[in-house]
Subunit: 291 residues, 4 copies
């Protein structure tokens, strides 16, 4: 099966690589040609336009944000000229509102839309260690399931409407940011009493919090190792904002998310915009005079 692939940033390239490694033929498109050439050198065919990448039975996309998706696929008219019946698998973390619009639009155009956002960083993606969320019409999800299995270590079907996968993804990223903030506050409390934050985090990750989220971020915060950024702080704030917007649309307040957003802003205002989003934890230290 020939598969289209649009958007070859760090994550996109890694996912595309997994599909090729699984024996799939790709037709790829990327705004800046360098990335497309690199993937082409590994065996993919380059498409001249986004529309050209939508002529197979399935197409993946992994674009940066809502605006890039709207511009590349909708405003450009690419979706309108996609092959009838095509299943579009969108791996990007997008707003729930866009997911709702895209699902409806695909339906109108005779296409299927599967949301398949992923959990994990680019290095996990390259190693096939992502967790892949999946939601959409059951037959469409079933059709692309073998491909999703190539992408990550585990596929999690979470519902028969595409936006449900985006909600789950945003909920997970919100929970990660909440864990980072909690580590920051707990660490500041410990430090105020002479306990090294790293020592506290060692206890936590050695007992009740023995999970990747706490190990990864506890490690970074304990050493204040916020550069280079694995996931830039403003991107983390964006995901929390998307969670807040999704909540607002359904009248579901998320007060911790509100607090996180405020602390992200304080972090940016205090010079941490280019750091990893775990630098969010420094707001707690700063507010305690312990930065």
């Amino acid at each position: 099966m020939t598969i289209g692939f649009i958007g070859l940033g760090n994550m996109g390239s890694a996912i595309a690589g997994r599909l090729m490694k699984g024996g799939q033929s790709l037709v790829v498109w990327n705004r800046s040609p360098a990335a497309a050439e690199r993937v082409a050198s590994e065996g993919a065919r380059r498409a001249g336009t986004p529309a050209e990448a939508l002529q197979g039975e399935v197409a993946f996309s992994m674009l940066a944000d809502d605006a890039a998706i709207e511009a590349t696929l909708v405003t450009s008219g690419a979706l309108k000229s996609a092959r009838q019946g095509m299943v579009h698998v969108n791996c990007a973390t997008v707003s729930v509102a866009l997911a709702e619009r895209l699902e409806a639009l695909h339906g109108e155009l005779g296409l299927a839309y599967v949301a398949a956002p992923v959990l994990g960083r680019p290095d996990a993606a390259a190693a096939g260690q992502l967790h892949v969320l999946a939601a959409g019409q059951p037959d469409a999800v079933a059709k692309v399931r073998p491909l999703l299995d190539l992408v990550g270590q585990r596929v999690w079907p979470v519902g028969d409407h595409a936006p449900m996968a985006n909600v789950v993804k945003l909920a997970c990223n919100f929970a990660l940011a909440s864990a980072i903030e909690t580590l920051g506050e707990a660490g500041a409390l410990a430090k105020a009493y002479g306990v090294e934050p790293a020592a506290l985090f060692e206890v936590m990750t050695g007992s009740l919090f023995a999970a990747p989220a706490y190990r990864v971020y506890g490690g970074l915060i304990g050493e204040r190792r916020f550069e280079p950024a694995g996931f830039r702080l403003p991107l983390g704030m964006k995901d929390v904002r998307l969670a807040l917007e999704a909540g607002e649309a359904k009248h579901a307040p998320l007060p911790i998310a509100s607090l996180l957003r405020d602390h992200f802003l304080a972090a940016i205002a205090n010079g941490d915009a280019d750091k990893d989003w775990s630098a969010l934890a420094m707001t707690a230290f700063r507010n305690a005079g312990l930065a």
Copy 2:
């Protein structure tokens, strides 16, 4: 070595049982005699007064809260008549301020004070699965270390001043409450979009949040199984309040803890005082109209 043991509630009895199982002779005291008799039936000697339990080289205590400790050990005069050089191992979760006062008082009285609060519930205690935090003067900690090793699966030395262990304990319980609230908010967001909270939690605990904290509380919240209470909600609020007070003494704000306290209060005001503290999560559902 004969060891005193004061306070035989659920946790105290389980810890005393571990020590006896490890071959230690105990002299026990409890305010209400029933529990003391039960432990005596397993081989312990009963003390007629708290002071009588303080005549060995080491004494453990596991009393309910600050007030019980002050009344039983300080106001009663028991500590004043303790054997010179005795090491007092306090396993209770107490305020940092009390730990500071007790450490100073023991020093004045020629006694040593080791704070050894534990992580885990009574059933974990009985199974020897607790994590034991330990702080105090190094020689005193070293002396009781073999006993602490009998109590739990792992001992975590966290500092050479007793209050440091209490700070770590409060930080851990704060982090647990934060995880509960986060599960509540994330679960409410999911539910608002038709995703069962339990399905979201399954993804989380199967990937980035594969830790006991999330598995235990995600399970309870997903099923809304808040009774019987493993740890009553007002006790959870108390620990968060102790964290806030410890922070206040050092000018370290803990905004998530503040939010948790407010939600605990709302939970109590709405009738959840007798439920498990994971019922804290219901505040998020209530505020979203999804309770």
Copy 3:
């Protein structure tokens, strides 16, 4: 001078009425014709299109929100065909981002843009009791100043860039919502101890808080008189959201605004969407079990 006027809702009609009472000739346009007819019956001339209302030296607009402004004036092409040099006075509460875009767009089109949002309710508008904020290029503001003086009891020039007036307006509405929430929390505390909220508010407005904001909202909250709505609760939430968005664009966290947004959502989720925005105060009573 002939003046265009676009948007004849409650506030628009009242402001248009003030201008006519001050001797000005109006050319009016409104989406639904009923309001335009009513104003025409008082002496205004009706325009067939928005563009037709933009052929004088000055045009006011008072449209419902960002979307209505974009649709009516920008997307429709009306602004492009406006009389060269025209000064557009926008009285609506819009997002700061839109104000920035509109100011730039007017400059490109050879028009001037004055932001003149108002403080006060429709009945105050009809009575000429509004406070009018004004910002924009000094010569444009100077030109329309005599008209603004007709509209309200006082004109407040707040800067030479139009968005500055919108920021001030949003800051004022944020402060009003904060006062409402504060009255709610203080009232719930009082009620919990048997003090009627109305009695507390009487003390407050008779001493340190002797201001319209507290008198008006203290009165409504004290009597729980939330219907009919003077300003619907979701509109109040919208303004707080606009303040949050304005803050986010400049990395200025507004934690009280975050909290207000969460409580507005809880109010909506609990059935208060059609009430006056002072019903925001009920969230505090509900959370205390005193609703």
Copy 4:
């Protein structure tokens, strides 16, 4: 009538002065004798002990905080030797819990207890411009009402249980702190867009917020004039904490108060402990990078 007066700090001296100016004879006691001598030089008689000041029909007290009251009046035994039937008028801002204990204790001792906390600063007190809250048994309040009328510009009876006046006082101080924080956040938002906070505050206090609270604190914040302190920041935090504790006792969450407490702590941690409590507003500017 001879009136006892215990506690001659700034506020106590000013209130005592008002009573003497109104023709009352005072028997005064103060821990440090200098203040007692000064008041004596104005015609008061000095008592050798607190108990000696409690031998008239009425005694006022204005001590610094809960601890000073407990030490001076309860632990010292002074209250036990007070004249039977004496009405004790406590003007201090105390915890609601202490007010409840004191009311009960006075009843047991055959004394009456009136809580009469005041709104205003020492200069307002000297000028007779205080607002006086009053609560207690109606006959006791009635008896001291003529004296309270001498103290301030207006007496506000708020209930027939003494703690009710303390609740109202704490609610007012909470509302003041909330206004300060709101001015800080609104001011930071304005400043981020080039609007001077003082200009925003002028609009606010010239329109919807034309009240002493906003004029006084808007003025201080607009000029960042936080020294000398009229009311030290940690004392402001203490009153907010007392409001939180009063709320907790009745399960009434006060989320704005929680936020205020956190910001007070951040202010102290960042060096503002000796400034006026209006310096609380700087936390908002700091978090926006605008301090």
